[in-house]
Amino acid sequence: MQPNLLLPFFSADWRRVKAIYYVLAGKRTISNLSAGLTYGLLPYFRLFPKLSQADYDQAVQILIKQNQLVLRSDEGPQMARLTTAGIVAATQLTQQDHWVKSVDYWQLGDWQTQWQRLILSVQVISNYRHQVTRYLPAINQPKGQREIHRWFYQIGAAQQQIFIDELGAAIAQQSLLSQQILVNSLSSESFFGMSDFQIIQALRLTSGEFEFARIEAISALVRCELAPTAPQVLRQLFQVTDQRLSRPAQRTYQLVSQGKSWSQICALSRVKEGTLREHVLEAAILEPGFDFDRPLLQELAGTDPQGYFGQRLIQIQAMRMREVKS
């Protein structure tokens, strides 16, 4: 990880160093998610699923050495905030073309999945149009391959043409940098594109900047193609299939939404009450239409022994209000 690229995830206020890592790596716990919400970092959830804790820690250490970040040295979880120099550098960075302005895991899905869909769909259609039937698929994930093949067989010749025209038009609307990355990463048996390394050289980016620029490029494109005005063939290709909530939380939230009482919910679920409360909190953080005025929530807040649940809920509600306003 190129250290300075982490700066914009910190701020002038103290933030938990580990929580930022967990958000970026996509570790879904209530504590990480609420930190993400509090810090305004939820859109960056799972931005770097492969980032190792060691690499992240090392990058943070370098930022401290460069006086862009300071640590608070008291007890408790490690906190850090930007120095004045860090704020300047972070601000400059977020104005660069390669900064990830468009990402949002919850709205646009996992960027890696979207990237794979783009690359494979273009390969499949380009080869099909050139009557090439034997070739190695550009992605190896079996689920991803199946998805694209199903999509490909669903769309007819007319839709194929719409795909080609509309995708081309959408890429043409992106920033020059995004266009260059998207176009040259594509490949089929009739177009080879360039290796990432060659693109990096040609664009004079560092490999870290390139990584960010690529995430930005695919995110901005997907944002375009998920808009209600986008043609169906592209909305289908990039549709976000993952649930916002984890499976168990989804189940609990469904029961809540159905208006079940707490004792009914407990009876219907096989997990501890504490875990069920966590599910409700997860929904409170992530569900767009979460109703904070539900009587059930007041009841829960009242019965929670340490008042932890009620307090958390109030915090989450406040954060989400702020989020809506901004």
């Binding site: 550009a138 994930q141 081309g168 176009v183 040259n184 990463s185 089929s188 594109g193």
Partner: protein, 498 residues
């Protein structure tokens, strides 16, 4: 199961189904043995078409073909190759798949013909349970030398395969490896096949079209000068480095200082990126790849003319496997290894560093499952966790680790002696792997050491065929150009109404 087939029948089928005229050495022999209901061990060099064996057998043996293979990148490459052949459903099962994917694969096993999985995945109770419900036509264990603690890549997970085989009761079992000494073959036979009668095919390791060269260098700059000399020639080139960082750094250096079209390749790259590099290299759009050992044999590049080891590997086995990727089209190729005292010392130190004091092993086994005892690096805890998963007791683990440590040290030492020797290199390799086989006598197309013959003289004498690559510095393609090549279409940027 079908009757044993005669060789002419097999060749006839090969021509009809695969459009090949002849088998590679070993393929027909192993197919015949398996069709006759025997278990088999194949010691076949890289690129000798191992996957053809199971593709060929697919219509002959009923039931699922289970292929155990340790490296995920290899698994994906092989699976893709079989997908192309359209011989039946192909599935992959490994720890990198998310739960939904794994569940999907397990739920669709009855429709699957080829299942690739990692050895640790095969140990999971749910996987064994599902497999036991099916009939297994063929169990293939790839990289079977990993079963032997006398081999350099010993993996404790492999030790369970014998017992699992016993539970799955496959119609036939095939163990495959590219490099195995007699001792390793003996371990495979004992541990995997419980010393049952087994057919063994052992190909010679002698590849006559490969020129072997040891190049003594003093340090970085010295290395670079010789590299530069080699890279002036338009030979498709593969350079092996020992770390990801080295691969990246060297690729950068080559991009900055030469006109080569270069990329680096290692397991840390995205799957799409790796596939893209393979494709570009295969179509001669890249002429140099700097890679770690992750650049595997699944990559079907035939015309690599120059193969360089930027740093020495730790043993004969890895060296042989890696040089085997050169000249697969049968044309002459130059393989060159840089020999440097410091590189050797670094390797020795790395081995010492990885040595585990028995106290730490005991601590690990005494600690509760979730805890990570201090003093261990992640890699070491992983190794120990593998042993624990395989139900080893602590004393056995201590002994086994001491033994593998000693084996590794000996292997490194032997290889270092080889690199510094002045005898024919080919003859020594043949002696190490198959002492029965007497190699072709040394001549000027065989081998040399830099102390005997200059590099320039070697290059002149070999006169390797070149491959034309467009050296114009790579330029970015525009959207409209790309669209016309991809789809024969123009881009209309005005029609979008967002």
């Amino acid at each position: 199961m079908t009757e044993a087939s005669s060789l002419p029948e097999l060749v006839h089928e090969l021509q009809g189904r695969f459009n090949f005229d002849a088998f590679h050495p070993g393929q027909a022999e192993l197919i015949q043995a398996l069709l006759a209901g025997r278990d088999a061990i194949g010691v076949l060099p890289t690129g000798s078409g191992k996957s053809l064996i199971y593709q060929f057998l697919a219509p002959h043996l009923n039931g699922l073909f289970v292929i155990v293979t340790p490296l995920i990148s290899l698994m994906e490459d092989q699976a893709n190759r079989i997908r192309l052949s359209k011989l039946g459903q192909v599935a992959i099962l490994n720890g990198q798949l998310d739960r939904d994917e794994q569940r999907y694969v397990l739920d669709h096993l009855s429709k699957t013909k080829f299942l690739f999985l990692a050895p640790e995945t095969l140990q999971r109770a749910v996987v064994i349970r599902r497999l036991k419900q099916l009939s297994i036509g063929l169990l293939t264990v790839d990289e079977a030398h990993c079963i032997s603690s006398w081999g350099p890549d010993f993996r404790p997970d492999y030790l369970q395969l014998g017992a699992i085989r016993h539970q799955l009761k496959p119609t036939a079992t095939l163990a495959l490896t590219a490099t195995a000494t007699d001792r390793v073959v003996q371990d495979i036979r004992q541990s995997l096949l419980h010393n049952m009668p087994t057919y063994l095919y052992k190909a010679s390791v002698d590849r006559l079209n490969l020129y072997l060269r040891t190049e003594f260098v003093q340090g970085r700059e010295d290395k670079w000068q010789r590299l530069e000399l080699l890279l002036q020639h338009d030979w498709p080139t593969l350079i092996y480095t020992s770390t990801r960082q080295q691969a990246e750094d060297l690729a950068l250096l080559i991009a900055q200082r030469t006109k080569r079209k270069v990329a680096y390749y290692h397991a840390g790259l995205e799957g799409t990126t790796r596939a893209h590099i393979q494709q570009l290299f295969l179509h001669d759009r890249l002429d140099t790849v700097v890679a770690t050992s992750a650049f595997g044999m699944g990559i079907d590049k035939q015309n690599i003319r120059l193969l360089i080891h930027d740093e020495m590997p730790a043993n004969f086995e890895n060296y042989l496997q890696e040089i085997g990727r050169a000249g697969r089209d049968g044309q002459p190729a130059l393989t060159l290894i840089f020999v440097n005292q410091q590189d050797h010392e670094r390797l020795v130190n790395r081995q010492r560093l990885h040595q585990l004091p028995s106290q730490l092993i005991e601590n690990f086994f005494a600690a509760p499952l979730a805890a990570t005892p201090s003093g261990l690096i992640e890699e070491q805890s992983q190794v120990l966790a593998t042993y624990r998963r395989a139900n080893f007791d602590v004393q056995t683990v201590v002994k086994l680790l001491q033994k593998t440590q000693r084996v590794r040290e000996d292997q490194l030492q032997l290889f270092w002696v080889f690199l510094n020797s002045t005898k024919c290199l080919r003859e020594q390799i043949c002696q190490y792997f198959d002492h029965q086989h007497s190699p072709e006598p040394h001549d000027e197309t065989c081998c040399s050491q830099s102390t005997q013959l200059s590099l320039t003289a070697v290059i002149e004498q070999l006169d390797l065929p070149t491959t034309s690559v467009n050296h114009a510095s790579p330029s970015l393609t525009t959207l409209s150009e790309a669209w016309s090549q991809l789809f024969d279409c123009t881009v209309n940027s005005s029609q979008k109404s967002v």
